[in-house]
């Protein structure tokens, strides 16, 4: 045969599944800079999620409710255990804590506007309470964090609830981070920090450690606020059974449980992707903890981390949550990662949908920034309206599913209304694999 290279089949170049282009790029970046990667957002890796669950719906054995005509309530009351003034919300979807500093003042205002219009609450963050936010939020939850930036008794009393933050899903065991680009004059002043420094918050609270001390801290907060405000305790999805149990023993009115898809303004990528459990895997353990203490529904459970649609809301409620919380989704509703800014995302070395360098403060959408020009791109009224619409859609979707399952209140959804599409989701949600009556780990089941 004539020697003709053109006709010899060649081996295709094969990318390693271990050393992927992303992995290699990160190795080169680390080698060039000597510092770990910091970014915003939550876990990006694929983990079992609500998408892997389906509702059974009603047919012959159960009867559905008519849309629009037959009642299906969505309201929820939070903080009924000890607080004199529990929080009443029209929908079981709240806005999670995001700081002024991480977000612009306009974005914070928009969150307040959108949430208030939809009949729900919004939450401060690791940077104190701004007047814009308080003014536009009908119901505002004030976060009590290790840093205590901007903490003062007047704001504490202006709040409708207090959320003691022990951890968050993006980084259970880690503290906050805000890089110098975002420490503007106003942010610096509110936090009593020098302008432009890279700020790291402590990972433990400065004046208590552990649930036995937290019980005393909660007593102090209640004494300062006349026992009026519900006290939430927020934990990252680490050991949800123990963490929920201990939050209740420490005296929480509400437990907020944030899974690993929950976002952050900035932290190490290694933390976001490698610490904590998926939201789906956390809920049943937390609910079981409440049930074992005879406190399910007495102490309310708010679940967050990767909630995107009314389907996610309905599934979280079915698994036993009283409400959910959204952060990343609310930012997207306001305009984060909108393809209309694609040219600018490209200039930043990213693309719409993947932009997560929130810590750099150069957000083209004007949300995760303190740059006055960029921040001015976000109209708080318009962004608030979009958020309200989105919340409304989620509530309607959730109702749609609840009605289809024959429920006159979304809180009547149960785990038994669900099946799982994958073994993983079946195990984590402890609902049967579709077409079977079995899930891995089901008591009494054999493999």
């Amino acid at each position: 045969m004539a020697k003709d290279d053109k006709h010899v089949p060649r081996t295709m170049p094969v990318y390693s599944s271990t050393f992927t282009p992303e992995v290699n790029a990160e190795i080169r970046r680390a080698a060039a800079t000597g510092i770990y990667d910091i970014r915003g957002g939550g876990a990006k890796r694929r983990v079992p999620h609500f998408d892997d669950l389906l509702f059974l719906g009603a047919s012959m054995s159960r009867y559905p409710l008519e849309g629009y005509r037959e009642r299906c309530d969505t309201n929820v009351v939070l903080g009924t255990r000890f607080a004199k003034k529990p929080i009443e919300l029209a929908i079981p979807i709240t806005i999670a804590g995001m700081s002024f500093g991480a977000l612009s003042a306009q974005a914070k205002e928009a969150l307040g506007r959108g949430a208030s219009a939809a009949g729900t609450s919004t939450t401060t963050g690791d940077g104190g309470m701004t007047p814009e936010e308080r003014g536009q939020s009908k119901t505002l939850v004030y976060q009590y964090l290790p840093s205590r930036y901007g903490m003062n008794p007047d704001d504490l009393r202006k709040a409708d609830a207090i959320e003691v933050v022990v951890g968050q899903g993006a980084k259970p065991g880690g503290g906050g981070m805000l890089l110098g680009q975002k420490i503007s004059d106003r942010v610096a002043e509110m936090r009593d920090l020098p302008k432009g420094i890279d700020q790291r918050s402590a990972c433990r609270h400065p004046d208590w450690t552990g649930p036995d001390d937290l019980e005393i801290k909660i007593l102090e907060l209640r004494e300062i606020t006349n026992w009026e405000k519900p006290i939430y305790v927020k934990v990252g999805g680490a050991r949800p059974y123990f963490d929920t149990t201990l939050a209740v023993k420490a005296g929480a009115d509400v437990v907020v449980l944030d899974g690993m898809q929950g976002g952050t303004a900035a932290t190490q990528d290694v933390f976001i992707e490698h610490v904590g459990q998926p939201t789906l895997a956390c809920i049943r353990d937390a609910v079981r903890a409440l049930q074992d203490l005879n406190m399910h529904r007495e102490v309310q459970l708010i679940v967050s981390g990767g909630i995107r649609s009314g389907a996610d809301v309905a599934k979280a409620l079915a698994l036993g949550a009283d409400a959910v919380s959204i952060g990343t989704a609310a930012m997207i509703a306001m305009g984060d990662n909108d393809p209309k800014w694609e040219a600018e995302y490209e200039k930043l070395g990213s693309t719409a949908g993947a932009y997560d360098d929130w810590h750099e403060g150069r957000d083209p959408a004007g949300i995760s920034t303190q740059d006055p020009e960029l921040a001015a791109r976000l109209d708080p009224v318009e962004a608030g309206r979009r958020l309200r619409n989105y919340l409304k859609v989620m509530a309607l979707e959730c109702q749609t599913l609840a009605r289809a399952c024959g429920k006159n209140h979304v809180q009547h959804l149960e785990p038994e209304d669900l099946v799982a599409l994958t073994l993983e989701a079946a195990a984590m949600a402890q609902v049967p694999l579709a077409g079977t009556n079995w899930w891995p780990g089901k008591p009494g089941a054999t493999f």
Binding site: G34, P153, P206, W208, I216, E220
Partner: protein, 225 residues
């Protein structure tokens, strides 16, 4: 002078009563008897009243204080005057961990020793300790002045921001990014004023000043953690 028996009347009634005092109150002097180490005594006050606690307190005495003067005639438990905004808190005895934690303003005077983490994350409060302070004091201290007339324990001023630390005795060790700094006339003046207001008989010249080397202010290869 109003006397309040904490054991008989209870914590809720105490704080409710004290918190209800207004700017113009005539009932400016209060005495709390039987504190018995209880927690959250005289928290969240916001009026120019004088409260004397006749005995030792538990956690968070005078927490988040504004305007009031709280005098503890005994020792104070963890977190005395935590997050104080203004006013004065005086502890006759010793203070446990976290004294003056995250305080934004006002003056905290501890006549005995303060335990670990005195002035942790302080944000503008002035703290004068006549005795010693324990380990990790002024951890992540942001603003304000911590004056220690005795000795300081390990890791003083770890990860400190712009707070100023004055120590008369020995410092067992300095924390990350905390260094000794030059004592300039304005520091001597600040110190003189604080010592005077705290009733401490010491000369400012006997103290050394410590503060931030500001090497942790920006992330780089060598100080990343």
């Amino acid at each position: 002078m109003q006397t309040f028996d904490l054991e008989a009347q209870g914590l809720r009634a105490l704080n409710e009563t004290l918190q209800a005092q207004s700017q113009q109150t005539n009932e400016t002097a209060w005495e709390i008897v039987n504190p018995r180490g209880s927690h959250a005594i005289a928290v969240g006050l916001d009026a120019p009243i004088e409260v004397t606690v006749k005995g030792s307190t538990g956690y968070y005495c005078a927490g988040m204080n504004k305007q009031a003067t709280v005098h503890v005639k005994g020792s104070a438990g963890p977190g005395v005057a935590e997050n104080m905004m203004s006013g004065t808190v005086i502890v006759e005895g010793d203070a446990s961990q976290y004294a003056g934690a995250t305080g934004h303003g006002g003056l905290l005077v501890i006549k005995g020793n303060a335990s670990s983490r005195c002035g942790i994350s302080m944000k503008g409060i002035d703290i004068v300790v006549q005795g010693n302070v324990g380990h990790m004091s002024a951890f992540m201290a942001q603003k304000g002045n911590l004056v220690v007339c005795g000795d300081a324990g390990d890791a003083l001023g770890d990860s400190i921001y712009e707070a100023r630390l004055f120590v008369r005795g020995q410092v067992k060790s300095l924390g990350a990014d905390c260094i000794e700094k030059e004592m300039r006339p304005e520091h001597l003046e600040t110190l003189r004023d604080l010592l005077e207001r705290s009733g401490v008989d010491a000369r400012p010249e006997e103290f050394r000043r410590y503060g931030s080397a500001r090497q942790l202010y920006t992330f780089d290869i060598d100080n990343a953690y």
